[in-house]
Amino acid sequence: MNTNEIEGQLKKAIERLEASAEQLIKTSGYTNESRRLKMLIELIREQVKNENSHYTAGEIR
C-alpha cells in the first residue's frame, strides 16, 4: 500500500469515526465512550497530518 492509499484509508476512517462520535454525543452527551472515539480520531489525525513527513509527530504541538 503506498503513502497516498494509506492516507486515503486513514481519512475515510476518520470520517466514519467522526460520524459515530457525533451520533454518540448527540444521543448520550460527552461520555467515556465518545471520549475514547475522539482519542482514536485524534491519534489518526496526527498521522494523516504527518503522512508525507519523515517525522510522525512533526506538527503535533
Partner: protein, 480 residues
C-alpha cells in the same frame, strides 16, 4: 504522591522536559513520577531510567489494524482501550506537556476526582479545557507564526508549577575542565531548517583550517546520505548514523562547542551546559527552542545568499575563537524566560503587546496605519458584541443577538489579516472565550460579559491615542 507527565512530542521536547523533571523531583523527593512518551521517541529518555517510570505510547501498534485491515477501526479502538485501561494508575497530578488534541482527551480520561490537572484537557462537555493560565497562554501565543519569546522549557516548568534552578540543568557527568572538541550536527528536524550540503562543506573546511581541536560530525542514518568530502580534514570524525542518542548526548557533554540548526542536539547541549552556535533558518522560533547555555549564540537568516553565508561563517569563527558576537547574532544572556539579547533592534510591537496582556507590561505605541486600522476594527467588533450582550435578556431579541455574537467571533479572527501584529490581542480574546467553562446559560452570559468588558478596558488604552479621523483605509482595504 503519584505524578504523570505526558510528553508526546519529539526527541527535542523530551530533552527540554528534563530540567522540569529534575525540579519536580527536587520539590517532591517522595513523588512517584511516570513519564509517558511515544514509543518512537523513547530513546531520548535514556537519562531518566533511575528517575522516573517511563511508559510508551505505541501508535504503530494501535493504528496498524486501520491501515492493514478493511474497516480495522474496531480492532484499533480495542487496542487503544487496552492501552488506556492497563497502562496507567490513579494519579494525584497530571502534567500534560504535549499541547495536542489527543493528549487533551487522554488527560481528561485519566483525571480522577481529586487529580490536579495542568496542561490541556477537556471540559465536562468535551470542549478543549485550558485549566491553568500558562496553558491558555500557550494556546494563544506559542508556536509557529506567533510572537511568544519565552523559552519552551520555562513554559513547561510554569505548566508543571515549578521553578527551575541552575542545578536542574545539570545533566552532565563530565567535568567542565575536560571539555574539548567541536560537535557539528548538519541535519535538522526538517530539511528546510538547515544549510545545504555545499554550505556545510565550506563551513567545516573553514572551522578545520582555523582550529586545532577535534571536530565531530553527528547525525542520524538519514543524514549519512548527505555527501561530505572529509578525507583531507585530518581532525574530522564523521559519526553520522553511528552513535546512539545516549552516546551523542555524552559526546556533546564533553565538547567545548556545538554548531547545529534547529535539532535535538541543541536541546541536548542545553541540559549538559555546552555552548552552542545555533543556525536558525526561516520561521523557526529560536526564542522558544533555541540554546540555553550562557554565551550561546543564534544566527538567523531567511535566504541562502552568498552574503548571508559569509556572515554565518564569520559569526561561527568569532564564536569558536572567543571574539564578541557580530551585531546580528542573538546571545544567551539570561538563565530564564526571554534568554536572548541582541544589539540588533528589531520591531517588536507584537511581543510588547503580549507582555502588556499577560505580564503587566506597558502597551506598545502604534507604529503603522495598518495597526491603527486593525485596532479600530476590533474596537467596532467589541462594541457590536457588547451591544448584543445587552439584548440577550430580551427573549425576542436573544436569537438574533446570539447569531451576531457568533459572527463577531468569526470576524475577530479575520481582523488580523489587516495587520498580523495585532494577532496576540485577537488570540487572547478568542482564548478567553474558549476558557469559559460555565454549565448554565446565565453563567456563560456573565463570563462572556466579563471578557468583553476586559477587551474594552484594553482597547481604551488605544482609543485615547487613535485619531479615528485618519483615513487609513486608503492604504489598506479589509478583505475578510
Amino acid at each position: 504522591m503519584k505524578i504523570l507527565i505526558i510528553q508526546l512530542a519529539r526527541f527535542g521536547d523530551i530533552y527540554q522536559t528534563l530540567p522540569v523533571i529534575k525540579s519536580l523531583k527536587r520539590n517532591h523527593p517522595e513523588a512517584d513520577i511516570t513519564l509517558l512518551v511515544r514509543e518512537k521517541f523513547q530513546d531520548a529518555a535514556h537519562e531518566l531510567k533511575d528517575v522516573v517510570t517511563v511508559k510508551t505510547l505505541d501508535t504503530k501498534h494501535i493504528l496498524s489494524p486501520l491501515i492493514f485491515q478493511a474497516r480495522g477501526e474496531g480492532e484499533s479502538l480495542t487496542r487503544l482501550n487496552t492501552f488506556v485501561d492497563s497502562s496507567f494508575e490513579k494519579y494525584d497530578k497530571i502534567i500534560n506537556l504535549s499541547f495536542s488534541p489527543f493528549s487533551s482527551y487522554l488527560t481528561d480520561h485519566l483525571t480522577a476526582e481529586n487529580t490536579i490537572v495542568r496542561g490541556y484537557s477537556r471540559t465536562h462537555d468535551g470542549f478543549l479545557g485550558l485549566p491553568d493560565d500558562v496553558s491558555a497562554y500557550f494556546y494563544a501565543q506559542v508556536g509557529t507564526l506567533r510572537y511568544n519569546r519565552i523559552h519552551l522549557t520555562d513554559l513547561f516548568a510554569m505548566v508543571a508549577g515549578v521553578d527551575l534552578t541552575p542545578a536542574d540543568w545539570q545533566w552532565n557527568p563530565a567535568p567542565e575542565t575536560e571539555r574539548a572538541g567541536i560537535v557539528i550536527q548538519i541535519g535538522a528536524s526538517q530539511a528546510h531548517k538547515t544549510l545545504d550540503i555545499n554550505q556545510w562543506q565550506e563551513l567545516i573546511e573553514r572551522i578545520h583550517a582555523k582550529s586545532v581541536t577535534p571536530i565531530y560530525i553527528v547525525g542520524s542514518k538519514e543524514d549519512q546520505g548527505l555527501p561530505l568530502f572529509l578525507g583531507q580534514l585530518s581532525r574530522v570524525q564523521d559519526l553520522r548514523g553511528r552513535n546512539t542518542l545516549a552516546e551523542t548526548f555524552k559526546l556533546i557533554g564533553r565538547s567545548a562547542l556545538l554548531i547545529a540548526p534547529d535539532s535535538v542536539t541543541v536541546h541536548m547541549a542545553s541540559v549538559v551546559g555546552t555552548p552552542t552556535f545555533n543556525i536558525s533558518k526561516g520561521q523557526v522560533r529560536f526564542w522558544e527552542t533555541g540554546p540555553r547555555t550562557l554565551g550561546s549564540r543564534v544566527f538567523c537568516y531567511d535566504d541562502s545568499s552568498s552574503s548571508a553565508i559569509a556572515e554565518l561563517i564569520e559569526s561561527v569563527e568569532k564564536m569558536f575563537t572567543g571574539q564578541p558576537a557580530v551585531d546580528s547574532n542573538y546571545v544567551v544572556t539570561q538563565t530564564e524566560g526571554v534568554v536572548y539579547d541582541s544589539r540588533y533592534n528589531e520591531a517588536d510591537f507584537s511581543w510588547k503587546l503580549i507582555q502588556a496582556l499577560y505580564m503587566q507590561g506597558d502597551y506598545p505605541e502604534i507604529e503603522t496605519h495598518k495597526t491603527e486600522l486593525a485596532l479600530r476594527r476590533i474596537t467596532e467588533l467589541i462594541d457590536l458584541g457588547s451591544e448584543q450582550l445587552g439584548q440577550i435578556e430580551n427573549p425576542r431579541a436573544r436569537s438574533v443577538a446570539l447569531s451576531i455574537l457568533n459572527e463577531v467571533d468569526f470576524l475577530m479572527n479575520q481582523v488580523s489579516r489587516i495587520d498580523a501584529s495585532i494577532q496576540p490581542l485577537v488570540n487572547w480574546f478568542i482564548t478567553q472565550k474558549i476558557r469559559i467553562t460555565a454549565k448554565t446559560f446565565d453563567e456563560v452570559f456573565e463570563q462572556t460579559k466579563s471578557i468583553y468588558s476586559d477587551a474594552r478596558t484594553i482597547l481604551q488604552v488605544y482609543n485615547r491615542s487613535i485619531s479615528w479621523s485618519l483615513d487609513a483605509t486608503k492604504e489598506v482595504t479589509w478583505k475578510p
